[in-house]
């Protein structure tokens, strides 16, 4: 698999300003993310990793520095379009639409892009099957599914975006070990077999151990780099 640098952070800082204090959540971070690799960004709570993920997802803009999507500065892009077509985020608490079925949740990003409902649902079925879920899940609401199933539906929805960047914020945080393994394996496969750039935010070192590249964040700074993906968890 050809590995291309798809996302690059250059001297990125992000400052939260409140009435009483100013906090530099991300401080002068530079790094690159290639397709076909799993990246883990590890760090303690408050280290700035989730803020950094929101910058990579285009949900916020850095107060200093720039993030580049294939050499195009993020600040010049339509960031809504970027999330519609290129990058998708998977969260710890799944964040599926609670009143939509699994099929409708997965079809949503495609419908948002104008794909007819019927076509979107057909494609959604393929994606649900791809994440290892059965047909019975199609018409189930999130509350009727297990955590593992919900997270896999969330991954299927992320795949429905059709881009090559998959950002995951503590994707196994609400799952048991078995389901956590399934999700991590799935993310690994997407990177290695389908060329996604998978960026996982986690404080679980066992997941970090299985990443191709590990960034450690401390007090908003990117500290170390290393790691290799082996596809299993301890």
């Amino acid at each position: 698999m050809v590995k291309l640098s798809i996302l690059k952070a250059k001297e990125v800082s992000y400052v939260y300003k409140s009435k009483y204090q100013t906090v530099e959540a991300v401080s002068d971070v530079s790094c690159t993310f290639d397709t076909g690799k799993v990246y883990a960004i590890v760090g303690h709570s408050g280290s700035g990793k989730t803020t950094f993920l929101s910058l990579l997802a285009g949900l916020d803009l850095p107060t200093k520095g720039e993030i580049y999507l294939e050499d195009k500065p993020m600040s010049t892009l339509d960031r809504d379009k970027y999330r519609r077509n290129t990058a998708s985020v998977v969260y710890q608490s799944f964040n599926l639409f609670p009143l939509l079925t699994a099929l409708e949740n997965v079809a949503y990003p495609m419908e948002l892009k104008g794909v007819p409902t019927k076509e979107a649902k057909e494609k959604a079925k393929e994606l649900i099957s791809k994440v290892g879920l059965e047909e019975r899940i199609y018409n189930q609401l999130p509350l009727m599914m297990s955590g593992g199933e919900q997270q896999r539906v969330a991954i299927a929805r992320a795949l429905a975006v059709g881009g090559k960047i998959l950002l995951a914020d503590e994707p196994t945080g609400n799952l048991d070990t078995a389901n956590g393994n399934i999700v991590v394996e799935l993310l690994g496969k997407l990177a290695h077999d389908e060329g996604y750039a998978v960026i996982i935010i986690t404080h679980d070192m066992s997941i970090a151990d299985r990443a191709d590249v590990v960034y450690t964040m401390k007090d908003g700074k990117l500290a170390t780099k290393g790691g290799s993906f082996n596809g299993t968890t301890s």
Binding site: S54, D80, S93, V161, E170
Partner: protein, 407 residues
């Protein structure tokens, strides 16, 4: 297309919230329509007041002491009539009469009152029931100009006059000085011949309170034709065509030259003041107008409250769906599109609720269609303004902050 599809899905999936939105709109519209119904009812009552409580008036002398036996300029009466503000006008003319050859300046006692009028209502000493006619004649003779008259029974006995006789009298007009005071002198108008078609019995024995001869005012006017003697009306009463135009009427009368009565003025027979019996009307109209004004004064506050309810209900309903908006935003739905989806969704529900409210109100109040449509439009504008503010505030959240919260 996506927007409408999303709205339809949202409405059907959020059944409870949708129902609540519809219910809130329905209740507000119902309240607004009942409120408007109250205003309309009061306005209708005010309009009806003009018919149920007529405002009447009469011309009187300046000190207000009498409204008969006056010297009223016909020119002013005509101007009053020309305003189109009065109806049911009753006028009278008064002259003095004497049997031919019986009057001399030194013997005023043989002059007797002769009045011309268009209605018996000008007299208080008898009613139409007290009048008896010869065949083929009735009260309608007062509307014509025929040389006929009715005569007081006492006078008939004294002068030995019989019904159907021809009565011949000399007519005299009283002389007035410049201030409208009568001077003890009369001016001869001419000889008048009339057929006696009826007689009437006066309830009073006083010689002055009821005239001896009554003809139509038109006939009396004809007596003056061909003479140099100026004629005056002696009394004039009227009813306002529209009681609600009382102020307009008073302004017009002031322009014509009528004055308010002034008890301190000296006595005069010139009829240039007005007495208007509007106390009952004004009291009722004031009460209604006050309650109407009070109702209307609440209008701005009520519509601000509607906007506030729109804001609060939308804010609370939408706040509980913030998580859903965050997911939409995370998947690339723009802020504008999010706003459109939720705003249109709210508008559809508010419209549905307001139509139901209008339908239900139809069973309680009877409002004009135009008023109902106006209320619905104003409600929607204010309610949606509140919704828009709520959405603009809610649309400013941090997506990551909402979605990174663990359950």
């Amino acid at each position: 297309m996506f927007v409408f599809h999303a709205i339809q899905k949202n409405i059907s999936r959020h059944r409870k919230k949708s129902f609540l939105s519809v219910l809130i709109s329905c209740m507000i519209v119902l309240f607004l329509l009942l409120y408007m119904g109250n205003i309309e009812k009061n306005q209708a009552q005010l309009l009806r007041l003009g018919r149920t409580i007529p405002v009447t008036g009469s011309i009187c002398n300046i000190d207000g002491s009498q409204d008969v036996g006056l010297q009223i300029d016909f020119g002013m009466l005509k101007k009053m009539r020309d305003t189109g503000l009065i109806k049911d006008e009753v006028t009278a003319m008064e002259i003095w009469a004497a049997l031919p050859g019986t009057y001399s300046e030194s013997a005023m006692g043989i002059l007797f009152r002769f009045e011309g009028t268009n209605s018996f209502s000008i007299f208080s000493s008898f009613t139409p029931k007290d009048v008896s006619y010869i065949d083929n004649y009735d009260e309608s003779f007062l509307k014509g100009s025929e040389a006929v008259c009715i005569v007081r029974d006492r006078f008939m006995r004294e002068q030995n006059i019989k019904l159907g006789d021809e009565l011949e009298v000399e007519a005299y007009a009283p002389k007035y000085d410049d201030e409208g005071q009568t001077i003890d002198d009369f001016e001869k108008i001419g000889l008048v011949k009339m057929k006696v078609i009826g007689s009437y019995k006066s309830k009073t024995q006083s010689r002055n309170e009821a005239p001896y001869i009554i003809s139509s005012d038109k006939f009396m006017e004809s007596i003056y034709e061909g003479t140099n003697v100026k004629s005056y009306a002696s009394a004039a009463r009227f009813t306002l065509r529209n009681s609600l135009k009382i102020n307009e009427f008073k302004d017009e009368m002031e322009k014509i030259g009528f004055l308010p009565t002034n008890m301190r003025s000296g006595f005069s027979r010139v009829g240039k003041a007005l007495t208007i019996n509007d106390e009952t009307f004004i009291m009722s109209a004031t009460q209604l107008t006050e309650s109407l004004n009070m109702l209307k004064s609440f209008a701005p506050l009520i519509f601000i409250i509607v906007a506030a309810i729109g804001f609060i209900s939308s804010y609370l309903l939408m706040q509980s769906r913030q998580h859903e908006f965050a997911i939409m935003r995370s998947l690339g739905t723009g802020r504008g599109k999010c706003f459109r989806i939720i705003f249109l969704e709210s508008m559809i529900l508010a419209l549905l609720g307001s139509i139901i409210g209008a339908f239900v109100s139809g069973f309680i109040v009877n409002l004009m269609f135009k008023t109902t449509v106006t209320v619905l439009a104003v409600f929607l504008i204010f309610y949606m303004m509140g919704t828009a503010i709520a959405l603009l505030l809610l649309n400013r959240f941090s997506v990551m902050a909402v979605l990174s919260k663990t359950d």
